[in-house]
Symmetry: C2
Subunit: 433 residues, 2 copies
């Protein structure tokens, strides 16, 4: 097999996700043979630094030996069984571990199998909770510039026109509040005031507020101050509205702590985890919730199932996915990864200074293991982000952009030398634009 052969076969059959396929008449489609550590390697031995962690999922490097061995052992025992009426060690151990690791008060775990489905579980469960309490509420609130996934419910609480506008006639009605537009305390205050005004007026009809804590990732990597989360928790308590934390992208160490909510020392009512949950190996998501939510569904079955939460996905709690997650957490703990990341985070901070002098670079920002900047001074038709991406690719670094926003979100095992190579590439690409 050669790069070209695989690419040609691919283009005959596959409609790629989040892709205008016509772009691939010019834009390279890279054939990957194998991956290890931070590297992806093609069929001709060219290798690429995976500087975006394969869409933000990979945390501990590709083909991590420790995780591989655990999955292989699990394969010989139990690949999959249904989780209704049955249980298995990987699901139970993982659930227990997640209850220990997540903020105090998140005591129960509902399994799903991708991020969007996890969001839908939380939305449905929050809505159903109020129904079980005899209250009719029907609006979800999310932030401007938010993104929570692609299924109809998840998309309805998103605010990015690029993914959403065309589907508006088939989405459900939701409410939007201002998002804090930068990392200042002032922006947090402005956005909280807007949320308070919305809650004052409509809280009796609001089911829940959903946010991505600290970073609106698909929302152009907009980063904001943890004060916003502190204030939001207070408002949710005051107005008796659920707070749903979508930590699908920001969880598992991305922001510098294990969970982004830790920066504000808050406990949301629901927390959704996916992506980094399995260290980038396999599809899995979980919805963590407070005991009182679980309790609201706990009752005698009434044959019409009215108060029961009867949501399911076939591969929910898949033993291989749970094993990947457990192995990832064990590796994180054994290797003291979150603590060691602090040094890496400081090193990235230093490297970011190299971009300050570029007139085409603005809004340089960092939160833990994620940093980003905007390229300015070009027309949108120029698709400058794509040009930057292509140039960096030629130099062996994957920096897939969000429009004109370039971000760096590497696996945690990246070395300083590799980080320097990424920034060398960024600098050269900027110069070349």
């Amino acid at each position: 097999m050669t790069n070209q052969e695989l690419k040609e076969e691919d283009l005959k059959y596959i409609f790629h996700p989040c892709t205008q396929m016509k772009d691939h008449e010019k834009l390279p489609l890279i054939s990957i043979k194998k991956a290890y550590g931070v590297y992806l390697e093609d069929f001709e031995g060219n290798r690429y630094i995976d500087a975006i962690s394969s869409w933000w999922v990979n945390t501990l490097g590709h083909s991590n030996k420790f995780i591989n061995e655990k999955i292989k052992a699990q394969l010989d025992n139990l690949e999959h069984i249904l989780l209704a009426g049955f249980t298995h060690e990987p699901a139970v151990k993982l659930a227990k571990k997640l209850v220990e690791l997540t903020p105090n008060g998140l005591d129960k775990v509902f399994f799903a199998d991708n991020g969007s489905s996890g969001i839908e579980v939380a939305l449905k469960m929050a809505f159903h909770y109020h129904a079980n309490k005899g209250e009719k509420r029907e609006y979800f609130v999310s932030l401007e510039n938010s993104y929570h996934g692609e299924t109809i419910g998840a998309l309805s609480v998103s605010d990015m026109g690029l993914y959403k506008d065309v589907y508006n006639p088939i989405l459900i009605k939701t409410l939007r509040a201002k998002s804090p537009k930068s990392q200042t305390k002032e922006e947090a205050k402005i956005a909280l005031l807007d949320m308070e005004n919305l809650l004052k007026e409509k809280h009796k009809n609001i089911v829940a507020i959903i946010v991505e804590p600290l970073i609106q990732c698909a929302g152009n990597m907009n980063m904001y101050h943890s004060d916003y989360l502190v204030g939001l928790r207070e408002l949710c308590d005051l107005y008796d509205v659920f707070l749903i934390a979508d930590e699908v992208a920001v969880g598992f160490g991305r922001t510098g702590k294990l969970f982004a909510c830790e920066w504000a020392e808050i406990t949301p009512d629901f927390m959704i985890l996916s992506k980094g949950l399995t260290a980038g190996y396999l599809p899995l998501s979980v919805v963590m919730m407070k005991q009182k939510i679980y309790d609201a569904f706990y009752c005698e079955y009434d044959t019409k199932g009215v108060k029961s939460f009867l949501h399911s996905h076939s591969y929910t709690g898949n033993p291989l996915s749970c094993t990947a997650a457990l192995a990832g957490i064990e590796f994180l703990e054994n290797e003291n990864v979150i603590e060691n990341n602090k040094k890496t985070i400081r090193f990235i901070q230093e490297q970011l200074k190299r971009l300050e002098s570029f007139p085409t670079v603005t809004n340089i920002r960092q939160q833990g293991m994620v940093c980003a900047f905007d390229i300015v001074g070009y027309k949108s038709e120029d698709r400058i982000g794509i040009k930057f991406y292509e140039y960096a690719l030629k130099m062996g670094v994957i920096l897939r952009p969000l429009g004109n926003v370039i971000y760096f979100m590497p696996p945690y095992i990246i070395t300083q030398e590799e980080i320097e190579k990424v920034f060398d590439t960024i600098v050269k690409s900027l110069k070349n634009l």
Copy 2:
């Protein structure tokens, strides 16, 4: 670890899918240590025949050595990379194979990672197709008694009150047509007439019709004649409306042919596959579509993405899941499984006759590797299905019911001896009720 220990730990942390947790104060929650062939084994060496294929996913037995070895080899090479801008052999080989195997004309493959998400992809893509053609259509049509998944979009085209009614205020509006209520040609005609009336009146505002071909699985295993599909295809052509075939549960040999649509010799416009796609190993789904659908999205990118299909899930086209799927297909072909199933299907047909004399058994039905019957003569509060389930469990057979409907949907590698044991158990359970 003992059964009891794992169960106690489980109940501290896990909110199980599709489960009223209070039921587990009495209903057994079974701790599974390992699985092989058709058997699940607990920590005390008790074993259970998985007569429902772990929610209809397992086709080739648990911990199948051939599939295990393929996944292990893949683990050492490439566990996961993003599928946007990149590609890999397992995705390409699987896409090519699926285009070969599915009905003629399904030429492109979009990857997702669970059944519900696959349904949402098809709904959004069908809607978006019309928008790209300058038409405003907004209604999806599904059948009475249908079930297509749990996310808001998938649930909106479902019709089972048990899963849906409480969420009505947050679902999107869809249309419903009569479903053929039995396997007779007459029922097919009645239902087609109803669909034709609906199309006559509203076709200009209808995006697509979605059905589960031949068996409404979660819809109490309602089976219907392939004439309905023939007629439905004709109606969809006549009224220029898409036909979406949800083969998540019925695909991959369940109905006696590789795909249920083959019984009617039709090609739907979209076909969604999941569950048996990975032989019961890992989460994965695909949406197969006609070339003209792919073509409607193929154009110059317009920076607002208006005509592009920008849907994605992080683990889309996961190499390990694709490898499981490819290994499963190779096993199916090498072992001539679909052909051999014909004998198994006849044997099940023979065994079903043992149930005919029971006054509490009605509506005995079979379609390929799925058979079902209803238990009658009890009040709904009796939850007779659950009692049946418990009794069969004690005898080592898993027959999780749908209300008062008992169904048998085994892995294809089940032997005649094991089938006899299942029917012995059914007979004894019925006598014991």
